[in-house]
Amino acid sequence: MNVTLIARSTYLEAIRDRVLAGVIAAGVALLLVTLIARPLAMGEGTRVTIDLGLSSITFLGLLVVLMVGTSLVAKEIERRTIFNLLSRPIARPVYLVGKWAGLSAALWTVAAVLGLALWTLLAALGHAGAALSIAEAVYLAGLELTVVTSIAVMFSALSTPVLSSLYTLGLFVVGQWSDDLRRFAADAPAGMRGLFEACANLVPNLSLFNMRSLAASGEATSVLHLGVATGYALLYCACMMALAAAAFESRDFK
């Protein structure tokens, strides 16, 4: 119950934040810009619109995570509102999970709004048939942002907002290269192969949530892929929350 309350207040706070409105406006503007870029795309304007539209969801969502998520806990400590919460019978892990769930819900809202805007634009251009692939891609983008949010909350419980942003951004970038790391591992000398493979398994496997290329060509992904991605996101988030809880338990607030 406490989780729901904290999540709800975090969600409302994030939704009221001007950053979120700005991000949605920027996303819609970017979609409109793709209309101008269409003639440059050698007859592949629809693909460019879908690809850029889906990319904007991830990048703008990442921006929200970096601007809001990494200061979630630090802001509460700075304002001293955390004392009011933690002096009540609320366990610290519950507080962290509530924060993560609230911000994740806000990001799902952003993803849904921008996904809908993308589909509306495509429908206006006569390509309404891409709805399923766009819905799947938006769903996977939402999962990706949820994973990144869990990383941000974990670092937020440990460090300052600036450092949390840098660490989160770093893991996001490395996570995007997880597949490349595996390919690199395949070509690496035998001694190094295991190390690279282990690294690829440890960093967030964000390639799993990338179906932009597939959606751009109007194709849908398999149920297995969606299921594995969902399971992976939940496990990764739970792992990050457990790590955050382990670190947050010993933190002393003055």
Partner: protein
């Protein structure tokens, strides 16, 4: 009993539980990531190459960072080449990719050379390879390297050498900064075999007079003597060598643009 159950656990216990949970979940994530790599089909990012905009339009979009964009395009081009070399050996977008790249960075000589040889030898598209090299020479008219490589492209042209044009560009390379000595030698060899022994004689003479390499000077003298004798006897065919089929292989592990293995004359 119920009061005891509800009592808060000590900090160490809570931390131990959290760490144990994190490790167990981490192990599960590790396994799932590993499994999904083998079990799920992966989307090839190379699909994106199909809708690369034209270099002409992408140039303003780089906001003054053309070279950086070219470097990124270069990395992408190498990935594209490597991926298709390993899989289907189809290079449908190779010219497009190198065209953009060289429009962004007109002085990027390695891109012209690598792109042209990959197109000619593996893409089996000589006209595009030629177009790319001519574009390079057009943008870099003082480049001895590009002139030489274009000569070499004609020299190893699949399905029949073009010795006349090869000699033309080797001669041009010999006049430009770069590999003048080798260019002269290649030019002489091409002229000799394309039926211009008098020009070949003059080129060998130039090699003999200007080369700092004693072996090369010796070779030039030998060839000059052969041409002289053949011309005196009115038998130009005597100086022509039997040319084998041109072969240019790109070594499996060679870095891009450096892997050409040549059968030099």
């Amino acid at each position: 009993m119920s009061a005891l159950a509800r009592a808060p656990q000590p900090l160490r216990v809570r931390q131990a539980v959290a760490w144990a949970l994190a490790l167990a979940l981490g192990a599960a994530v590790f396994q799932l990531a590993n499994w999904s790599w083998t079990a799920l089909p992966r989307v090839s990012p190379l699909e994106e190459l199909a809708y690369y905009p034209s270099g002409q339009h992408v140039r303003p979009a780089t906001l003054g960072h053309e070279e950086t964009a070219a470097d990124l395009a270069w990395i992408r081009a190498i990935q594209y080449y490597g991926q298709h070399r390993r899989t289907d050996n189809r290079f449908d977008h190779l010219y497009h990719v190198f065209d953009i790249l060289t429009t962004l960075a007109p002085g990027f000589e390695s891109a012209y050379v690598f792109g042209a040889f990959a197109l000619a030898q593996e893409g089996r598209n000589f006209p595009f390879a030629e177009a790319l090299m001519l574009k390079g020479l057009d943008r870099n008219p003082r480049s001895g390297r590009l002139a030489f490589e274009l000569g070499f492209l004609y020299y190893v042209k699949p399905n029949g050498r073009d010795l006349g044009r090869a000699a033309e560009y080797f001669e041009l390379a010999a006049l430009l900064p770069g590999r003048r000595d080798v260019a002269r030698r290649f030019a002489a060899f091409c002229r000799q075999n394309s039926g211009s022994p008098a020009v070949a004689y003059a080129l060998w003479q130039q090699v003999r007079e200007t080369s700092p390499n004693a072996y090369l000077r010796e070779l030039a003298e030998r060839e000059m003597a052969r041409i002289h004798d053949a011309m005196a006897a009115g038998r130009n065919d005597l100086v022509r060598s039997r040319l084998s089929t041109p072969v240019v292989l790109l070594r499996e592990s060679a870095p891009a643009g450096q892997g050409t293995k040549r059968n030099a004359p």
